[in-house]
């Protein structure tokens, strides 16, 4: 574990793996909840946790360097289920990268257990891990100028769901009607770091017969 100073009142704690970042994040949240870590922001990411708004960063840095990380405690919260229509425009490309038939993408993706490693890019956008690394895919060579809200997408080791329409370069494999972000709701974000997630395939209902 490396502890890097960031300006006058922040620290970036760097670890070797996703799992360690997850364990570190859980431990830091626990310390803050117990009143032992006065941090304004605790921001996990791929291999780091950023601590911002620290009154005594130097003292905390020394303390963290000596930290022995306990294993990740099992999370008490339930798993968020995201219903998905696996109908994305990049389904065939993803299938080709994976070396499976297109219909297999849904089965593989919906069969995995995901966890929100961190959030970023847009409010409520989670970077979900859970697929084995052989399913990593590159970004699109040319990003789309508008990816529709609710798009379920892959890039690198991550799955994400676009909370609102925005430009994006991820591979689109499906769509959900679930509202990922609603600032009038409590909590506004359906996915926050640590949340466990499953994708549940849904089939398009038959169109209503005309009245």
């Amino acid at each position: 574990m490396r502890v890097l100073p960031v300006g006058a009142d922040a620290l970036l704690v760097e670890v070797a793996s996703d799992d360690e970042a997850q364990a570190l994040h859980a431990e830091l949240l626990r310390r803050r909840a117990e009143g032992r870590l006065p941090a304004g922001e605790i921001v996990p990411a791929a291999r780091t946790v950023l601590l911002d708004g620290l009154p005594e960063p130097a003292r905390l840095a020394a303390e963290l360097t000596a930290l022995d990380l306990p294993p990740v405690p099992p999370r008490a919260t339930e798993t968020v289920e995201i219903p998905v229509r696996y109908d994305g425009p990049d389904l065939a490309d993803v299938a080709a990268h994976w070396g499976v038939p297109a219909r297999e993408v849904a089965r593989v993706h919906a069969g995995a257990e995901f966890r929100v490693a961190f959030c970023g890019f847009a409010p409520g956008f989670g970077y979900l891990t859970g697929l084995p690394s052989r399913y990593d895919v590159p970004r699109r060579p040319t990003p789309r100028t508008a990816v529709p809200a609710g798009s379920v997408a892959l890039a690198g080791p991550y799955t994400g769901v676009y909370p609102r329409s925005s430009p994006g370069g991820w591979q689109l494999i499906g769509t959900t009607d679930l509202v990922l972000w609603d600032h009038t709701r409590v909590p506004a974000a359906l996915l926050s770091p640590g949340t466990r997630v499953r994708f549940v395939p849904v089939t398009e209902p038959e169109p209503e017969p005309a009245a």
Binding site: L4, P5, V6, G7, A8, A10, L12, G40, E41, I42, V43, P44, A45, A46, R47, T48, V49, L50, D52, G53, P57, A58, F118, C119, G120, F121, A122, P123, G124, F125, Y127, R164, H183, A188, A189, S192, P193
Partner: protein, 289 residues
């Protein structure tokens, strides 16, 4: 409809509602946002008799015009500019009484970039995650002002401002930003780190509320692998692939994958927000705490 409202007569190039922002949600991908020149916004609120967390208007270069529907006290701070009420000059940087239906015009900035317009009672749009700030990166908060829009105002406080005028720093002819190296200075050549703190940069016209962009010597990386996304702080000096540093301001993304070579001391950021394109910029080493 309530009388406590402000009609927008001329929105200006970019006028947004700002308060002290919404820190504490970075882990959800929510930028902190808030007034770029916090001290100027706080002073405007004091002069208008508002609480420090009241929402004000932040203009960009060419000001704005508003028509209050009831009598209000206003104060304009930040970038120095001509201020008029119904065409008659009134004081900048001091409380001004504006009658119902009169037009307050905040003119083009003479120096600096952003003027702050506080109105007694504060702009009372619906808060989002505890803040009324417009966040131009994520789209949270109210949309930028448009001609003809109407903004609700809060109830003024009974006690009036204990200040009449207050000194304000002039926007700098040369911007000096104190930086602490790291966290990713080791991703750059030793030469790059030396260049950053020894050469003159200039403020780029591509600057906005997300970041102060620069022109100047490109900073060379010592390693070219991809940095996994990591948390970003206000004032981070991020170096994109073209090598010219970007200083993150209030609407900055919460995570990023370009290495941060140094971090600007937060008290230097208001001056950065008031520096026009073309302003010479020097990064100088700050003493580490």
């Amino acid at each position: 409809m309530t009388d406590r409202a402000l009609a927008v007569v001329r929105a200006g190039a970019l006028t947004t509602v700002q308060d002290r922002g919404r820190p504490g949600h970075a882990h959800l991908g929510v930028p902190r946002s808030g007034a770029l020149d916090g001290p100027a916004a706080a002073l405007a609120n004091r002069l208008a008799g508002n609480a420090p967390d009241a929402a004000v208007l932040e203009t960009t270069l060419d000001g704005c015009s508003v028509r209050p529907r009831s009598a209000v006290t206003v104060a304009v701070t930040g970038a120095p500019c001509p201020v008029t009420v119904d065409g008659r000059p009134v004081a900048w940087g001091a409380p001004v009484r504006v009658r119902a239906g009169s037009v307050l015009d905040v003119g083009a900035a003479v120096r600096g970039v952003r003027a702050y317009v506080a109105v007694s009672g504060g702009v009372a749009v619906e808060p989002v995650l505890g803040s009324r700030s417009t966040d131009l990166l994520s789209g949270l908060g109210p949309a930028p002002l448009t001609d003809g829009a109407v903004l609700p105002l809060g109830t003024p406080r009974a006690v009036h401002a204990p200040v009449d005028v207050a000194p304000q720093p002039a926007p700098p002819a040369e911007l000096v930003l104190r930086v602490t190296p790291g966290p990713r200075d080791d991703w750059f050549t030793p030469d790059a780190v030396r260049l950053l703190t020894s050469r003159t940069y200039h403020v780029s016209p591509a600057s906005n509320r997300i970041g102060l962009r620069t022109t100047g010597p490109a900073l060379e990386r010592a390693r070219n692998d991809e940095l996994p996304s990591e948390g970003m702080v206000l004032g981070a000096v991020q170096v994109p692939p073209d090598g010219t540093p970007v200083v993150f301001l209030a609407d900055h993304p919460t995570t990023g994958g370009y290495p941060v070579i140094a971090v600007v001391h937060p008290t230097d950021l208001p001056a950065a927000a008031q520096s026009r394109p073309g302003t010479p910029l020097r990064f100088t080493p700050a003493s580490r705490r």
